[in-house]
């Protein structure tokens, strides 16, 4: 009798705990829904062609975010070019040339440590090296290089995994036919690993375009600057604009709506990028 009631209690407790664990998990979902709802309610009415194509303005109803959009796109170009060339190069070296050397272990540890450095520290590095020492100022190049260093560990690790997943027998077949190491890498291993590498690169880019802190530290002005035409121009970017409008919403209420509208645009870009990565990954998984 005592055991039976005890057992019911224990089972009830189990059910109770299950409910608690489930609600903890759903907490994240609820927060995400609230966040999305708030941003949509605040911002969706402000999005129209005029908002997307106009210059920034102090008058909320005239403000547009073409400048920040262009700035973010230019940053993405720099980040893609730099991280793909250096990141994939590093991954090839670590995976295919120096697999078990001591240097390899050192570099790997180093990459893991870099991944844990706060983004604002990268901002300070960019400010000191790119903006001041190399005298790039607050241009697209300075911002792009800074963000590239920030996401480089992501690209290297993802590319390494992609290279590792290439089956050994096809590269051995290539060697067997007399191909050199580089020929095998260039014609066999890289094309096979490409989807995995691209997925990593897209995720890195989507991480980098949401970054705000390093750009703020670089001293990107909140001023109304002309549209950037090239990589040596001053720029502003979508997350920066969200930051400035959020801060200034104390002064002008409508700036909060502008920030929300900009968040919708930024999140749309991010979700598109992530969906692309997922599609590439799924297609790739089916083929192998």
């Amino acid at each position: 009798m005592k055991f039976a009631s005890n057992m019911t209690f224990r089972l009830k407790l189990n059910q109770l705990a299950k409910g608690a664990f489930l609600s903890a998990t759903l907490f994240g979902v609820v927060v995400l829904i609230i966040l999305m709802a708030q941003v949509t309610i605040d911002g969706i009415q402000w999005i129209d062609m005029q908002f997307i194509t106009s210059h920034l303005s102090n008058t909320a109803s005239k403000a547009g975010i073409m400048g920040p959009i262009l700035g973010t796109l230019l940053l993405m170009v720099v980040v893609i070019v730099v991280t793909l060339s250096i990141g994939v190069g590093a991954a090839i070296y670590l995976e295919l040339y120096a697999k078990n050397s001591r240097l390899n272990g050192f570099i790997q540890t180093n990459i893991r440590n870099l991944a844990g450095v706060p983004s604002i520290v990268y901002g300070i590095l960019g400010l000191t090296i790119f903006a001041r020492l190399m005298d790039l100022g607050n241009t697209v190049l300075a911002g792009g290089f800074t963000l590239s260093l920030l996401v480089l560990p992501i690209v290297i690790v993802a590319s390494q995994e992609a290279l590792r997943s290439v089956p050994n027998d096809i590269s051995e077949a290539s060697y067997g036919l007399g191909a050199t190491t580089w020929q095998t890498i260039q014609r066999i291993i890289l094309p096979t690993a490409l989807p995995g590498i691209l997925t990593g690169a897209i995720l890195a880019v989507s991480r980098s375009i949401g970054e705000t802190a390093p750009l703020v530290v670089l001293g990107i002005p909140a001023l109304l600057i002309p549209f950037p035409n090239g990589f040596n121009d001053q720029f502003t970017a979508l997350p920066l604009q969200i930051y400035y409008w959020t801060l200034d919403s104390v002064l002008v209420d409508e700036y909060a709506n502008l920030a929300a509208a900009t968040i919708i645009i930024l999140m749309t870009i991010l979700i598109t990028l992530n969906l692309t990565a997922i599609i590439i990954r799924n297609k790739f998984q089916k083929h192998v």
């Binding site: 608690a20 903890a24 998990t25 570099i107 450095v117 604002i120 949401g210 703020v216 991010l270």
Partner: protein, 314 residues
């Protein structure tokens, strides 16, 4: 005869050509690894660059401001006539916001991990995990907007004495931001506990909850603790949420309803103010950044040490 020479000439030419292309290939095989090594060394250069810039300017800072003042003074007035450069207000802001964030993220993250790995069906998990991934991918400035324009007003309607900028709201939102990280790292640790141990506990009559608490969690403890330490490191380095929602008060206080500045927010404030190079305030951001770098680095090493040293071997 004539045709013979022609043919042999042709062959000679082809041999020469082939050896040329072989030479080129050999050259490629020699130079390309060096180029690739150069790429790999960029990451080492980045580390050296970070440490060098931080160290050099931090030393300049300590030539102006004493070590003792920086680490023991509770006064921080970088812009006054007689500036004070005490780190403690910033350190205090950072630690308090991190503590609030962990109070949110540790229990909720761990409970989510337990649910996802022990209780959820595959179908439920396939829905919930992507949601957590989206939550992890939201830019921090968006969380800052969320803290400033929604969470703070809600908190103020419940608790009217809270200031418009306060440390509580960004702390909570920072916790929400870190939940996916704790959940996913802890889940990895929990699901690596062998199934046979769960089955053993259940065969002895344990309920699922008892199995989880008495067998699974202890088995995964090192990984769970490591995930908490990494989350702390992440919270210490988080910038935008606190910059947007916690204001820039440099008071040394423990009142979470007040505005406090974190180390990261201080760096943002000074750099947006365009401090002239060579002034003490300019050097101070490097000293603060150095402290930040050492703290997060130590946390990351600690996390790795814990998960290695205390891992239960199965």
């Amino acid at each position: 005869m004539n045709s013979m020479t022609k043919e042999s000439l042709n062959i000679q030419q082809r041999i020469r050509q082939q050896s040329k292309s072989k030479q080129r290939q050999q050259r490629m095989n020699r130079t390309i690894p060096k180029l690739l090594l150069g790429c790999a060394l960029i990451s080492v250069l980045t580390t050296i660059g970070i440490i060098y810039t931080l160290l050099a300017e931090t030393i300049s800072f300590f030539n102006i401001v004493s070590f003792k003042e920086f680490f023991t003074s509770t006064e921080l007035n970088p812009l006054s006539q007689n500036p004070d450069f005490g780190l403690l207000p910033l350190l205090n802001g950072t630690l308090i916001s991190t503590a609030i964030a962990m109070a949110v993220a540790a229990p909720i993250g761990l409970m989510s991990a337990i649910y996802l790995s022990e209780y959820a069906s595959t179908r439920v998990r396939n829905v919930l995990k992507p949601v957590l991934e989206v939550l992890a991918g939201v830019p921090t400035v968006v969380y800052g907007f969320f803290a400033f324009t929604l969470v703070t007003p809600v908190l103020r309607s419940i608790w009217p004495s809270i200031e418009a900028t306060n440390i509580l709201s960004p702390g909570i939102v920072m916790g929400i931001m870190i939940i996916p990280m704790v959940a996913s790292l802890s889940e990895d640790a929990i699901s690596s506990v062998p199934q046979s141990m769960r089955e053993g506990a259940m065969a002895l009559g344990s309920t699922k909850l008892e199995t989880t608490i008495k067998v699974v969690i202890p088995g995964a403890l090192s990984g769970i603790v490591a995930s908490f330490v990494l989350a702390v490191s992440r919270a210490i380095g988080e910038t935008m949420i606190v910059t947007v929602a916690s204001g820039s008060s440099k008071n040394f206080t423990f009142d979470i309803t007040e505005s406090m500045q974190t180390m990261t927010a201080y760096i943002v404030e000074v750099t947006s103010g365009d401090a002239a190079a060579g002034t003490p305030i300019y050097y101070s951001i490097y000293a603060v950044a150095m402290t930040l770098f050492i703290m997060t680095f130590a946390m990351n090493l600690l996390a790795r040490y814990i998960s290695k040293r205390f891992r239960e071997a199965y």
